[in-house]
Amino acid sequence: MRLLTHNMLSCNIKGVTNGFPLKLEADKWVTKEVDLNADFLRGIFPKIEWSALLAAARVLGFAELPEQADASMLSSDDFLRRFHHALLELHVEEGALVCPETGRKFPINKGIPNMLLHEDEV
């Protein structure tokens, strides 16, 4: 699971009012290089919740993202490289996503988060 996906996921449990962001716990992660596409990064940037990306990247040991980000930074190649790396090149293989309200853990195995809700959570 990449941090792009993590940035979009919100806890779905019945009654939870603010299930975003899910806290990231990572036991195993890898880096997989992919080509940088500036157009994609510029397009997706407005949709990214920056503080959630920042926190998740830190969990994976990547502290090169600025505390705050705004669209003017998208003209900087250096910023784009860091943004690209955090968003698309870090893959969580084993770990968990934790609901910020209930503490419920959604395990991640082989890179696949298990988001299935139990009967009483629907």
Partner: protein, 269 residues
């Protein structure tokens, strides 16, 4: 059987992607593949340069997707529980042969209607304004089709059905094309494939015709459907008069013909 599916797969997902009507600007989009299975349809999205998030309820299928090193992220999830995505973040969604499963109650506590509502509600919310969802379906019967359409409309979608190869029982494919937002020029649907009469016979003979119905649905204004036969003509006055005569010969009680018989009524598309 598996071989057969692999051959058909890419063409169906290509068509679904085409129906998404994404802007042709060369910018990769973030898409959903609902019921992504082993990643066949997702590969089509990757080949076209897009990023995608896949959902499936089968761990074993997703394991295959991971083995095949698909480029999208895949999640183990039940679409009937809602997609759990933030509002307005997704540029489009496809689904190949999956959504009809929402119509079956497999667990006693999960009524199909609740699942359809959760699915379409969450899908609508996570799509950006003007984005589309294209759901290729194998609905078992009209009830299922209508139920699916009803819940899509209730969630706020406008849209309709595109049917490719309507007269071929083997090749026929139905795509539910939904747009997030009100109907507009952007939501106009293309013709289904095989609608140009290449397979039809010359005469509109009987009521055993496989009529093709084009239905366009809008959330607030249900439209009348105009029934057309294979040649694109509606069943006109001559046909009605002929039928009435047939019924009279059979001995049925048929009102007499008048100037009002089979008069043109206003038809809406």
């Amino acid at each position: 059987m598996v071989f057969f599916i692999i051959i058909l797969g890419p063409r169906i997902s290509e068509r679904a992607l085409e129906l998404l009507n994404l802007p042709n600007d060369g910018v990769p989009k973030l898409l959903l593949d609902i019921g992504c299975g082993s990643g066949l349809s997702g590969e089509t999205l990757s080949e076209n340069g897009h990023h995608w998030i896949g959902y499936d309820i089968s761990q074993s299928m997703l394991d295959i997707a991971v083995e095949r090193e698909v480029e999208g992220d895949v999640l183990l999830g039940d679409m009937g529980q809602g997609l759990g995505l933030r509002p307005g973040v997704v540029d489009g969604a496809i689904s190949i042969s999956a959504v009809q499963w929402l119509c079956y109650a497999d667990k006693s506590s999960h009524e199909p209607r609740m699942r359809l509502k959760a699915f379409f509600g969450s899908l609508y919310r996570c799509l950006a304004r003007g984005a589309r969802a294209v759901l290729q379906l194998y609905a078992e019967n009209m009830n299922q089709s209508e139920m699916i359409m009803t819940y899509a409309m209730r969630a706020g979608f406008s849209g309709g059905v595109v049917v490719d190869w309507p007269h071929s029982s083997k090749a026929r494919k139905e795509y539910l094309v939904l747009t997030c937002g009100p109907a507009s020029l952007q939501t106009a649907l293309p013709k289904g494939k095989g609608e140009d009469g290449e397979m039809c016979s010359d005469e509109d003979d009987s009521d055993d015709d496989e009529n093709q119905t084009v239905g366009v649905y809008e959330r607030n204004r249900p439209r009348k459907k105009l029934k057309v036969n294979k040649k694109g003509k509606s069943k006109g006055k001559q046909w009605v008069l002929k039928k009435k005569e047939q019924m009279r010969r059979k001995g049925n009680d048929v009102p007499p013909d008048s100037k009002y018989t089979a008069r043109k009524r206003k038809a809406y598309f």
